[in-house]
Symmetry: C2
Subunit: 210 residues, 2 copies
DNA sequence: TAGATTGTTAATCGATTAACAATC
DNA sequence: TAGATTGTTAATCGATTAACAATC
């Protein structure tokens, strides 16, 4: 398993290369990528080597080729189907990302909610009853779920997903869930991100005294 | 500057200790914390040492004391005022976190939007015109902003914030912004989090072949 | 005291960087 | 060819872990 940081950088490379491509660039040097992302050129070349991305000593790296390769690494060749649990404010915000995600090979195929008032089977992305969740997952061979329910029902939802053999969960609840052999959990904790930002700023303000 | 990972762990310690406190615990050993968080006891003790959190060889660590100390480290003694730019779906989802954040010493004091239809000066958290953003920041001595505008206006908003000398930004747009000497940026990229989750699962599924 | 845990030092591990030979 | 860049190896750096003396 490659380090988390390396995967994060891979996504940053992808974004930057898309932008360069839009500007009409065809080739780019490790040095330029390094400058743009604020990392060292050695690290760029090392990352590329590890991901089996090859360049040439003449023109550096060929952008379309790298992008194809990165797509391949990220599994964007086949569309990844995802269900979203919890169609509250955060959930519907994510549903709204729809088109952007599809461009990235990710498709939210259905949402689920306990509130009968929110159900809408006819919507572009249908909002279905929580009761049908387990069945939907197995019938449609879903491997991924995004969880945006209130913390109070988070545990229960996680148990359903685990029983349904979901392989990956993007968890927005503040319930801290650990990955298991069967299910990988990616916890996104917005309060933590805010707290971390505040800490870093306070830390920086204190630095001059050092 | 402590490593990012160390700060992340600090937040996990805080969460765990709160839960233990709710269960009526008063003391806890590094070993138990390590088990609960899936890290080593050495690392827990090292982290605590670096954050100046002291225990005793008799009863381990005294939960109320650690929590006070962590609060202090995170700056939760004084309320941190934050503005939110972009009152769309994601923005209002965050506004809804209101009470939870206040418990953590974080208060969203105002939101801003370009859409005149969304303005509401009388709301608990007023939604104000984008035009008044720069003034509001200086008059109320605001240091932090959460940005949840569409990517199309992200650059513009960042420029306003930078001009207004905001010190910390939690950026939810896909515009990748770099920290500067004056402003620390914490980028939360939901698409990247999803892509990373998918990558990790695919990687795991491939592993048995190794 | 005997046993157990912290705090800290030294050892290990892994990731990043520097350097440079190979190559175009 | 001369110059510049990749790919890779060795050196460095920092973070984690193991070990254990000090302490309760």
């Amino acid at each position: 398993m490659d380090s988390q940081d390396r995967i994060r950088r891979l996504l940053n490379y992808k974004n930057l290369l898309y932008q360069l491509q839009n500007l009409g660039f065809i080739k780019v040097f490790s040095d330029n990528i390094a400058d743009a992302l604020g990392i060292s050129a050695s690290l760029v070349r090392k990352d590329f080597a590890i991901f089996n991305i090859a360049g040439s000593q003449k023109g550096g790296y060929h952008i379309p080729s790298i992008l194809l390769k990165i797509h391949d690494i990220l599994g964007k060749n086949e569309i990844q189907k995802i269900v979203l649990i919890g169609a509250g404010r955060l959930g519907s915000a994510l549903l709204n990302y729809g088109q952007i995600l599809i461009d990235e090979g990710i498709k939210i195929v259905a949402a689920f909610d306990i509130d009968p008032g929110k159900l809408d089977e006819k919507a572009a992305v249908p909002i279905l009853s929580m009761n049908s969740l387990a069945n939907f997952i197995s019938e449609n061979d879903i491997h991924f779920a995004i969880v945006t329910v209130p913390e109070s029902s988070a545990r229960q939802v996680m148990d359903i997903l685990k029983a349904a053999k979901i392989q990956g969960v993007l968890n927005f609840t503040s319930l801290k869930v650990k990955s298991t052999d069967a299910t990988i959990i990616n916890n996104v904790n917005i309060e933590h991100e805010l707290a971390r930002l505040i800490y870093m700023v306070r830390q920086k303000n204190r630095e001059p005294d050092d």
